[in-house]
């Protein structure tokens, strides 16, 4: 790790193909800043992404990375971190990727509390498949596949996370770049699963949850008397239905990462040239 790492070192030479104005630009810049700010460099960083416009992030960043299949980025991240806890692991994807097809993994990744960060670009729509309802779309949000709206309430990912025993829950807004980067940085620094839901507007398919909407409604918990270590307060903020918050909503100060509890010590990449020492004891056990 060298100290002269700048956030642009995390940029790949591939030009993003996101629509001009897409919230994902801001989200990604904040992630790169946070990584550089926390003293990481591309060679010790592993980014896992799912599928969607949001999932392309691994392509536009420079680091070790894997761009997997739809909804399965979290398990990949867990595998990477378990096999080498020295790596900085960051998982990213969209609301469809994380809360629909990957919802099962989300809850279990939260429970497992592996020391990594999970940044979800929540645009309340399926962008890459051109504008269908996502699990965070509003109940009356009309799309080609839901002409009368999904007719079911949106999932509340922060509530899911809290219920599943999350140790770090935060929310940011991609266009508020300074705060967004700070909060992602906190997620990285948190000892455990740092979950950040980012409002990252889709300028092409979502004309309801727009920059203007978030700008007008979102409130920074830093400007209130919110105590992030108080689970009850977090619960109230998270369940408040007609208010959008930004900031760290909840953090468990006593969080111990899963891999630490499991006693994983270092990288599993080094193995002997033949069977490990003492392997013959494995055979003798069957006497």
């Amino acid at each position: 790790m060298s100290s002269d790492i700048r956030f642009t070192d995390f940029k790949s030479d591939k030009q993003p193909t996101w629509c001009p104005g897409c919230g994902d630009f801001g989200t990604m810049n904040g992630m790169m800043k946070a990584l550089a700010e926390t003293g990481n460099d591309p060679d010790n960083t592993f980014i896992v992404a799912g599928i969607g416009c949001s999932g392309k992030i691994g392509t536009y960043m420079h680091s070790y990375a894997l761009h997997g299949v739809h909804g399965r980025a979290l398990p990949v991240g867990i595998g990477v971190k378990m096999a080498n806890p020295d790596l900085e692991v960051m998982v990213s994807g969209g609301d469809g990727d994380g809360y629909s097809i990957g919802a099962g993994h989300f809850i279990h990744a939260v429970r497992r509390n592996v020391d990594m960060s999970y940044v979800v670009m929540d645009n309340r729509i399926y962008g890459l498949t051109k504008g269908q309802a996502s699990p965070t779309s509003r109940e009356d949000f009309e799309t080609a596949t839901t002409p009368d709206g999904p007719n079911q309430p949106p999932v509340n990912p922060k509530a899911l996370a809290l219920a599943a025993g999350a140790t770090f829950i935060a929310q940011t807004f991609s266009s508020n770049s300074q705060r967004h980067a700070e909060i992602v940085q906190e997620a990285i620094e948190h000892d455990g699963f740092g979950f950040v839901n980012v409002y990252s507007p889709c300028v092409t398919f979502n004309d309801v949850d727009t920059y203007d909407y978030f700008r007008d409604t979102i409130e920074d918990v830093e400007e209130t008397d919110h105590d992030r270590f108080d689970r009850e307060q977090a619960k109230d903020k998270i369940l408040e239905s007609d208010k959008e918050y930004m900031g760290v909503l909840y953090q468990d100060e006593d969080s111990v990462p899963f891999e630490e509890r499991e006693g994983v010590e270092g990288s599993m990449a080094e193995i002997p040239d033949g069977a490990p020492e003492g392997a013959m004891d494995l055979v003798r056990e069957f006497y």
Binding site: T45, G58, G79, A275
Partner: protein
């Protein structure tokens, strides 16, 4: 085999059938006898018929036969289930005082040995030991020195304290003495002991042991019969070697976790059975295109859907060979014996890393739940070789950087295999993806690059065909007119079946093939034979299909899909009738 003895204990699930059977099997193995066990179990925890069968001989045993010499029946149903296998020298041990056993009729002139198992167990310290009383009785019937049981009892009950162990030893002796005093047995079973040292293990345990021997450090899985034993074996053991088992929330997660760990440089594996393999399918392609070395183990059971979860079948061959959308380069390796479960697992890891490709390790229920004796040297750890393939580190990474200093993780090498840099390697940062990509891992739809990368990945298979030996094992007369081919766990039954065939004057050449893809070219062997028969536990003949495809010739098929593995004698009969039928058709054609 003069002292070839077939023994079984049967009852309801929950009666302790498994552990009692295992105690006896271990005692035999420690007494220097060969053992081959099989289990008959239903998919429920309590109730339902369950049996544990032990075949034992001083000579090596490779299969089950259609005969039972000693049967411990804890329920009446046990007698009915095994009726056909009893004969006039059989001895059936049961507790006639129990209400469930009042009307037992022991068929075929077999000896009915009524032993008050429960009453004697109570005298020894608790009714729960009635199975052990029965073991003691069986020792007397078979002239097997009861001291050999003691160590197994120690192993099984040692954790529960010395008093329990002593009570059990006592229970066994009470069974023995009762038989000695009450009956004047007219049987001449004589189970001799030898000085040989054997270990007794099943196929799943051998896979787990092979994985650790090969340096596997990460395992993610989701419980499913009959693959769970692999996970249970590794849990607790792999940690001692710096590894970890993670029980994932489902198979989708399991394979993706295993992929992540492999990406981070660990030797990594997942194991499952049919339904789990289905769930993992989408990720097969990702493993292949991201060129991640991964061992995916499928311990087959009876399908489709949830089928018969505790029954034998070899129905997933097509799934492992062709499963997944698009075209996925992969290797499919299928051990044919329990010892091969160990060695092929080691090989699977080497192949996976040498070629950076998914390797399917395909086993089946019959092999997974069967325990067999081996001399410990069969698993000589000094013979294990580890080949990690083209891993580069700080010292040699420069050779693989492009003019702008970017690592070419998908460099289209002539042999199809690119360099590999574990995350953390300086200057190695790169991305891998399931999207089509260029040599740097960057997404592309450029037609030339697409073709170049597809060809590159497929070249691994060609290279492996040249460099590895994807061979078969051969038995019998190389010049015989009849050629039998099988894969998976049928090898043992067929090898023994050949003895029956030889007795009846049938000459057979038998090839047991552990490589499904790439596989040996069998065209010369098939051409040299008059009749070729492919034996497998499925209804449609999936392996027969691929062989026909390879050799451009019709082959005969023996298929069993009852859920039960082949018996040696049954298989011999099947071969005979197939030959009779095919001779018939040949005559018709000649007319």
């Amino acid at each position: 085999m003069p002292d070839d003895l077939n023994w079984a204990i049967g009852g309801e699930a929950g009666d302790g059938i498994d552990s009692t059977g295992k105690i006896f099997a271990q005692a035999l193995s420690r007494a220097g006898r060969h053992v081959f066990t099989s289990k008959d179990f239903a998919s429920r925890i309590r109730g339902g018929y369950t049996a544990y069968k032990v075949r034992t001989s001083v000579d090596r045993v490779e299969s089950v036969v259609d005969r039972l010499d000693i049967l411990i029946a804890l329920t009446e149903r046990t007698v009915h289930e095994n009726e056909d296998e009893l004969h006039e020298d059989s001895v059936v041990i049961y507790d006639g005082e129990r209400s469930t056993m009042q009307d037992v009729e022991v068929p075929h002139g077999a000896t009915a040995l009524e032993v008050p198992l429960k009453r004697l167990a109570e005298d020894a310290g608790g009714a729960i030991m009635l199975n052990v009383v029965a073991l003691g009785a069986a020792c007397e019937v078979t002239n097997f020195p009861i001291e050999n049981l003691d160590e197994s009892l120690q192993k099984r009950f040692g954790d529960k304290g010395e008093a329990i162990v002593e009570n059990n030893k006592q229970a066994a002796r009470m069974g023995q003495e009762y038989v000695r005093e009450e009956f004047d047995l007219d049987t001449d079973y004589d189970v001799e002991t030898t000085d040989e040292d054997y270990v007794l293990l099943n196929g799943d345990e051998a896979i787990g042991m092979g994985a650790i021997a090969a340096g596997c450090r990460f395992y993610a899985g989701y419980p499913i019969t009959p693959a769970t034993d692999v996970m249970e074996y590794l849990t607790g053991r792999i940690d001692q070697f710096g590894g970890k088992v993670v029980q994932a929330e489902d198979e989708l997660s399991a394979i993706n976790m295993a992929l992540g760990a492999a990406r981070a440089g660990a030797r990594s594996m997942t194991a499952t059975s049919g339904p789990g393999i289905d769930l993992m399918t989408e990720t097969f392609g990702l493993v292949a295109t991201s060129e991640t070395p991964l061992v995916i183990c499928d311990v087959m059971r009876s399908g489709p859907s949830t089928g018969m979860p505790t029954k034998q079948e070899q129905g997933d061959l097509n799934m492992t060979l062709y499963g997944g959308h698009g075209e996925i380069p992969r290797f499919v390796v299928a051990p044919t014996t329990i010892s091969e479960c160990f060695w092929k697992t080691v090989e699977a890891f080497n192949l996976a890393e040498k070629y950076q490709i998914p390797v399917f390790l395909v086993s089946d229920l019959a092999m997974a739940v069967t325990e067999q004796t081996f001399s410990p040297e069969t698993f000589d750890m000094d013979e294990v070789e580890v080949d990690r393939g083209k891993v580069v580190d700080e010292s040699d990474i420069d050779a693989w950087l492009d003019e702008k200093g970017r690592f070419q993780a998908h460099f289209p090498a002539a042999d199809g295999v690119s360099p590999r840099a574990f995350p953390g390697t300086t200057d190695g940062a790169h991305m891998t993806t399931g999207l089509e990509h260029d040599e740097l891992g960057r997404r592309t739809e450029d037609t030339d690059v697409r073709v170049e990368q597809v060809d590159k990945r497929n070249r691994k298979v060609e290279t492996a065909r040249e460099e590895e030996s994807f061979d078969y094992r051969e038995f019998g007369d190389p010049d015989a007119d009849t050629l039998v081919i099988s894969w998976g766990s049928n090898e043992g039954a067929m090898r023994e079946g050949m003895e029956f065939l030889a007795e009846d004057g049938y000459d057979v050449r038998f090839l047991s093939v552990p490589y499904i893809f790439p596989r040996p070219d069998l065209s010369e062997e098939v051409a040299a034979a008059e009749t070729t028969i492919v034996v497998e536990c499925n209804a449609t003949g999936q392996f027969a299909d691929v062989i026909e495809h390879d050799v451009l010739e019709r082959v005969e098929r023996i298929n069993k899909y009852t859920g039960v593995r082949f018996d040696a004698d049954e298989l011999a009969e099947e071969v005979k009738s197939t030959l009779a039928d095919s001779a018939g058709t040949q005559e018709v054609e000649a007319e």
